[in-house]
Amino acid sequence: MTLGFYPGCSLTGSSREYAESVVALCEELGIELKQIPDWNCCGATAAHNMDKELSLSLPARILALAEKDGMTEIVVPCAACYSRLSTTQYELNQDETLKAKVASIIGMPYKGSVKILNVIQMLQKYAVDKLADKIKKPFDKEVACYYGCLLVRPHEVLQFDRVEDPQTMDVLMAQVGAKPIDWAFKTECCGAGFSVSQPDIVGKLSGKIVKDAVDRGAKAIIVACPMCHSNLDMRRPAIDSYLKTKVDIPVLYVTQVIGLALGINREKLGLPRHFVPVTFA
């Protein structure tokens, strides 16, 4: 089976390991990923903060290219890209005039019909029933599933799980043998796009998240978003300085955890690229 694939910028740079683990896992599961030709950046928080039409046009171009290539379903592992693409599709589907305007800005026809899946949705749809048979080494650790903002909100657009205390990732983790803990910061914001411009805020917000996970006995934090990952993993100095202590809990992508359980090797999953060393497996 082949699915369209939008890696997004982070997955080609600072979050390469996410892309690597997604690809490795899909390979293992017999899913072929085909990149959208000549894709561009979704604009992320910056476009969204600065100009509404730009923030709609950049994702619209991506979706239009996917349509042009005949894709009906695309996988978008980055939660930020996923949110931007989904919101754009939703907003344009609500407003035909705006849709026409955006189509003229990007200079391409745009229908808005491509189905957008995040990694969790993709796994739920195409992999869940295959997982049990393929597990080689259950990931039997206490994990704190961290959803962040972009996967669950706004609910009316994303229709993903319940807004408070979501469960989908917990269920998935349990399926590969992990023990998801009950904790309070599942959907609190990590500081998102302030990573560079407001590192102190990121240190504080991410610090609270990491601390709660550690306090409640998690051995790893599981994420499905490169922004969450870089804030929780790379920004450890800021986090540690906010918490006034050093915390060494590793942060893993869902795909890495499942990959480990399926026996994929750590290099293929990009684990060595983490700042906080991952000592499992």
């Binding site: 319940r162 807004v163 408070e164 205390d165 009950d182 309070a184 709660d212 306090d215």
Partner: protein
């Protein structure tokens, strides 16, 4: 041939100063069918009335038009006078020469002309009048009260004390409702049970009250004065006439893990149980859904232990039929649980409780004997947070309206907490304090000033558990929205008061309306607060909207007075100004074609269906029939009927058309 009398009143000078009354009387004398016409100074006075009576006799009048003041003032007076003279009262009509003519116009020719027109209209109407008899409906002087909370208890006692029979139906094993669960009550802080229990006992012992607990209304037919109600008495599995209430059964029952409804889930009860020690009746029932014997076919320990032999597992539901004249609905309300508010803990933190649970904690008869201890570990909370409007005034997740009672009970809870835990600290997060009632504001001020409850104006965003504490994240909007975080030991949510889950179904059984929140609808928000739109069915208490005890009791007595007023007559005499469906000779029977547009139009569900059968019993035709107990005479059906088969007595098509024609053809 009509022989109409016209009586023109001067009303002192009220009419005659602007209307040439002599001319009106003279002109009227010339109208077709008028046999007698006269003017007089005061028609409503005794001599005036005698004049009319005399004229009826002397001139053999078949109809009377009194041209005087508003019929809203004196129509009954003149109809009565006519009846005394042997003329059917409904053959008398009034022309409103005072309010609608002399008082609103100057003395001009036009004014007198208008008066003449008005008289002509009514003369023509009277020609089409038919003698009518008041409708007499017998009244069955027993009241049915549905719901045994404080509203039902008060209504039942008031009606019973007027000397009428009352049947009180309660779906739970005991009466008492929510009030029996309360600790102390605002604004006086008297003990709820202490004031309620005597009334519960009084209900049980009152010779005029028949109490059916563990029972529900099955169906209802009929109309004011003449309802037939079927009541389902659910099988109790215990013969209460034999049971002594000794308790040997429930102490032995092995099925002990059933969350107690009375204690709002804070502790457990057995399968055979009495809901609380002061229950009325104080005899157990078996909850079949949780009894091991009913579910698995084994146990019967209670039966073994019951010395009098009161337990019978084969008892079945029983349906009885009663006849009642009036009904009072007093089914109360429910409180929303905490589970609909995920950000406050999904009902997953044991120490996040509802206001009702707090009542049980604070109650001397509750699971902690009145000590405030938190459910998780029994510790006395040192810091407690109360969250007002939890689900109320929240279109997004809860309900739009204000639940009205929670501001007050939250103040009470904080106060009770401070009284019981002197070193404790309490916080109330609120949006507005709604304390409109006698001594209510003073009560809230006392909580703040004397008991040092910290009121913070702002809604809480989230509550989560951390190291055995509940972290409450709020904001202080009086400090520009500054975030406030409190580490509490316990959180109490003032969850919304909502309609009972079965209220919609009950409303449909009763044919009464309910609002969009499924509370029962009163007939008029100001002037008929205890009536429903269905004659003979009344409301009291929190089944109409959330309300506190004083209001509930006031309303209950009001409803009882309405029932007593209804029962003060032997027959209900009603104006015959109601709709009728015409009847004709066979084979037509009626011009009604059975479209039942009238049925859809009638706001009172007064249109029934009547089958016309031949001798062999085959249905030839189904036509509309008006239930004269239900019809209020609005006439909506008449306007709807395309075949002009239904008409309203006193305002028939003939009458209305003749008025219009008389008016326009002078």
């Amino acid at each position: 041939m009509s022989r109409i009398g016209v009586f023109v009143c001067h009303c002192g000078e009220n009419i005659s100063s602007t209307v040439d009354v002599e001319k009106v009387a003279q002109t009227a004398a010339g109208f077709d069918g008028v046999a007698y016409s006269v003017d007089y100074k005061y028609m409503c006075s005794d001599p005036g009335q005698s004049l009319i009576k005399q004229a009826i006799k002397d001139h053999n009048l078949t109809g009377v038009v009194v041209s005087a003041c508003s019929p809203r003032m004196h129509e009954p007076t003149f109809r009565k006078a006519c009846a005394e003279a042997g003329l059917n009262g409904y053959m008398c009509e009034m022309t409103n020469l005072r309010e609608h003519c002399s008082w609103v116009h100057e003395r001009t020719e036009e004014t007198t002309e208008k008066a003449i027109d008005l008289v002509r209209m009514l003369v023509e109407k009277v020609k089409n009048d038919k003698p009518l008899e008041p409708i007499k409906v017998p009244i069955f002087k027993t009241a049915l009260v549905i719901g045994g909370g404080i509203a039902g208890i008060q209504t039942s006692l008031d009606i019973a004390n007027c000397g009428h029979k009352v049947i009180l139906v309660e779906k739970e094993p005991s009466i008492g409702g929510h009030m029996s669960q309360l600790s102390e009550t605002f604004p006086t802080l008297d003990c709820s049970q202490c004031i309620l229990t005597p009334r519960m006992v009084e209900v049980a012992q009152h010779p005029n009250i028949t109490l059916y607990t563990y029972s529900e209304l099955e169906s209802l037919e009929g109309y004011i004065g003449n309802f037939k109600a079927k009541i389902r008495k659910k099988a109790k599995s215990v013969d209460h006439s034999v049971c002594t209430g000794c308790g040997d059964c429930w102490t032995k029952c092995p099925s002990k893990k059933i969350p107690s409804e009375f204690n709002a889930g804070l502790d457990n009860r057995t399968a055979i149980y009495v809901p609380f020690p002061q229950a009325v009746p104080n005899k157990p029932v078996i909850d079949k859904d949780h009894c091991t014997y009913y579910q698995k076919g084994k146990c019967r320990l209670c039966e073994k232990n019951c010395k009098p032999g009161a337990i019978h597992f084969d008892l079945e539901d029983e349906i009885i039929e009663v006849e009642v004249g009036g009904i009072v609905v007093t089914t109360g309300f429910d409180v929303k649980g905490t589970d609909f508010f995920p950000e406050y803990g999904y009902g997953k933190y044991k120490d996040v409780i509802t206001g009702l649970q707090f009542e049980r904690l604070a109650s001397a008869s509750g699971p902690t004997l009145g000590e405030i201890k938190r459910p998780s570990d029994g510790k006395v909370p040192e810091k407690i947070v109360f969250i007002a409007c939890a689900g109320s005034r929240d279109p997004a997740k809860g309900i739009d309206y204000c639940s009205k009672i929670c501001c007050m009970y939250t103040a009470k809870h904080a106060m009770l907490y401070q009284h019981k835990v002197h070193t404790g600290k309490s916080y109330v997060f609120y949006m507005d304090i709604r304390a409109g009632g006698k001594n209510y504001e003073e009560f809230v001020r006392r909580a703040i000033e004397e008991d040092k409850v910290n009121y913070v104006r702002g809604r809480v965003s989230t509550v989560y558990e951390k190291n055995g504490k509940l972290i409450v994240k709020g904001a202080d909007t009086l400090m520009n929205g500054q975030p406030v975080e409190i580490e509490a030991d316990m959180v109490v949510l003032a969850t919304a008061g909502v309609a009972n889950c079965g209220s919609e179904e009950l409303a449909q059984k009763l044919h009464v309306s309910y609002d969009r929140y499924k509370f029962f609808a009163e007939a008029h928000p100001k002037l008929k607060p205890v009536e429903t739109n269905t004659a003979g069915i009344f409301l009291a208490g929190a089944c109409q909207a959330p309300k506190d005890i004083p209001e509930t009791v006031g309303m209950a007595s009001g409803a009882a007075a309405k029932v007593a007023a209804l029962f003060s007559q032997d027959e209900l005499k009603r104006e015959p100004l109601i709709a009728v469906v015409n009847r004709q000779m066979p084979p037509t029977f009626s011009s009604c074609v059975g479209c039942f547009l009238c049925e859809t139009a009638c706001p009172y569900r007064a249109i029934e269906r009547e089958e016309i059968k031949d001798r062999a019993g085959n249905v030839i035709k189904t036509i509309a029939k008006v239930n004269d107990g239900l019809c209020q005479g609005c006439g909506t059906c008449v306007a709807f009927c395309r075949t002009k088969s239904i008409d309203i007595q006193g305002f028939t098509n003939e009458q209305m058309y003749s008025e219009v024609m008389a008016l326009l053809n002078d």
